[in-house]
């Protein structure tokens, strides 16, 4: 909902004619990722905050294996992100008349960076659910961790839209490395924050 509202606001105020043709690939990539990241930050912490608010977090801690909980929440968040991208990206392309020269690379970038968004924020969500001032804290903690991923994704989407130098999909590889490191380290660190 937040995502669609932002998208409408952006397309309404900017439109597809304000931006010069040469600037489009870069600025559109920036806009798209700002919409995606901020709508993700507004929703992803729910996975753990909901458990804490319902009082079910502790029962879960008493009965379930920590890594199983983490993987469950991670897949839930990834599903959410997949749905978000499925709705927002086609709408964005349609409304902004976003021309993409290399759709395969573009899609791979969206998928890998989407995975990265989930991988980087799930463990943070587990921490902030047990803290005060959750909403603000979630964005404050997640944003520095997501910044390298966001920069990579913007660069990659721009490259895919322009369609030059796409050999090897360098940004996709960086994003995948990010996903792997974040998931492995989260699996390692999650039991520590879960069993406190």
């Amino acid at each position: 909902m937040f995502a669609v509202t932002t998208l409408i606001a952006v397309s309404f105020s900017i439109g597809s004619f304000r931006i010069a043709e040469a600037e489009k690939p870069f600025l559109y990539a920036v806009l798209l990722w700002i919409i995606l990241v901020f709508s993700a930050l507004s929703g992803l912490s729910r996975s753990f905050v909901k458990e804490e608010e319902a009082g079910t977090m502790d029962v879960l801690r008493l009965s379930a294996r920590p890594r199983a909980v983490f993987l469950g929440k991670l897949f839930f968040n990834l599903t959410l992100l997949g749905a978000l991208e499925l709705i927002i990206v086609p709408l964005f392309i349609l409304v902004m008349k976003y021309k993409i020269e290399f759709p395969g690379f573009f899609a791979a970038m969206l998928i890998s960076a989407g995975l990265g968004l989930g991988a980087g924020t799930t463990i943070v969500a587990a921490m902030i659910a047990q803290a005060s001032a959750r909403g603000a804290l979630f964005s404050a903690l997640s944003f520095p961790l997501l910044l390298p991923l966001m920069i990579t994704a913007i660069k990659g989407c721009e490259r895919a839209a322009v369609g030059i130098d796409t050999a090897g999909w360098p940004e996709v590889r960086i994003a995948i490395a990010y996903v792997v490191i974040m998931v492995v380290m989260s699996l390692f660190l999650f039991p520590l924050i879960w069993e406190e």
Partner: protein, 218 residues
């Protein structure tokens, strides 16, 4: 005590030498190149303390030793202080040399991210009431934040070319003036020693605060 006196004298010597003994490097407006003796050591200490904080966090998570967490927190606090100093001095230099306080040069970008990480770290610590939980969360976050560093190194330089002077001000460069090099290394050492002194002081304060709470029951 001796350490403190010695450090004071040494820093005074470096300060005088930085302005009187060395000559301003060519290619910079006026005397601005003298920033080298202050700005670079500050940035170095900021980086060092980030690294130290991360290592101490790992030790805390493995051993659950409160002292390790005190070290992680003290290092983070001092790192934040030196980070701000480096940002401010760098910004003044940027205005004098490149015409604007802020240019989103790669190093400026990375120091902003570092400031954000420190901010998030302190926010997290203040938002968790249970002391044991707070320490663990802070440690976990420090490690996660540190993990993003290799990506930043990899990602950021590709966006914009650096405006940072590399040749005349790089101590690894053989072309550096020997006088400058001497004072620069002296200053680096002075700043590191200052950092160690402040770190120990901060840790002592944390320990005394901890003892005072422990003493509550007596």
């Amino acid at each position: 005590m001796i350490y403190k006196v010695f450090l004071t004298i040494w820093m005074a010597v470096i300060l005088v030498a930085a302005f009187l003994y060395t000559e301003a490097a060519t290619g910079f407006p006026g005397e601005t190149s003298r920033i080298l003796f202050f700005h670079v050591p500050q940035a170095w200490v900021a980086t060092l303390s980030f690294l130290l904080s991360m290592i101490a966090s790992c030790v805390y998570l493995a051993r659950r030793n409160v002292k390790a967490d005190d070290l992680a927190l003290s290092a983070a606090e001092l790192g934040f202080l030196f980070c701000v100093l480096a940002t401010v001095t760098g910004s003044i230099f940027a205005k004098a040399s490149w015409g604007s306080f802020w240019n989103w040069d790669p190093r400026e970008t990375s120091i902003v991210i570092l400031l954000m990480i420190y901010g998030a770290y302190f926010a997290l610590r203040s938002a968790v009431a249970d002391p044991e939980k707070k320490r663990v969360f802070a440690g976990v976050y420090a490690i996660l934040a540190f993990l993003t560093v290799p990506f930043l190194v990899f990602v950021i330089p590709r966006i914009t070319a650096s405006l940072h002077p590399e040749d005349t001000m790089n101590p690894a460069n053989p072309g550096m003036d020997p006088k400058t090099l001497k004072v620069f290394l002296g200053s680096l050492l002075a700043y590191t020693a200052l950092f160690v002194w402040m770190l120990r002081l901060r840790m002592r304060i944390l320990r005394i605060e901890g003892n005072r709470i422990e003493g509550f029951r007596d």
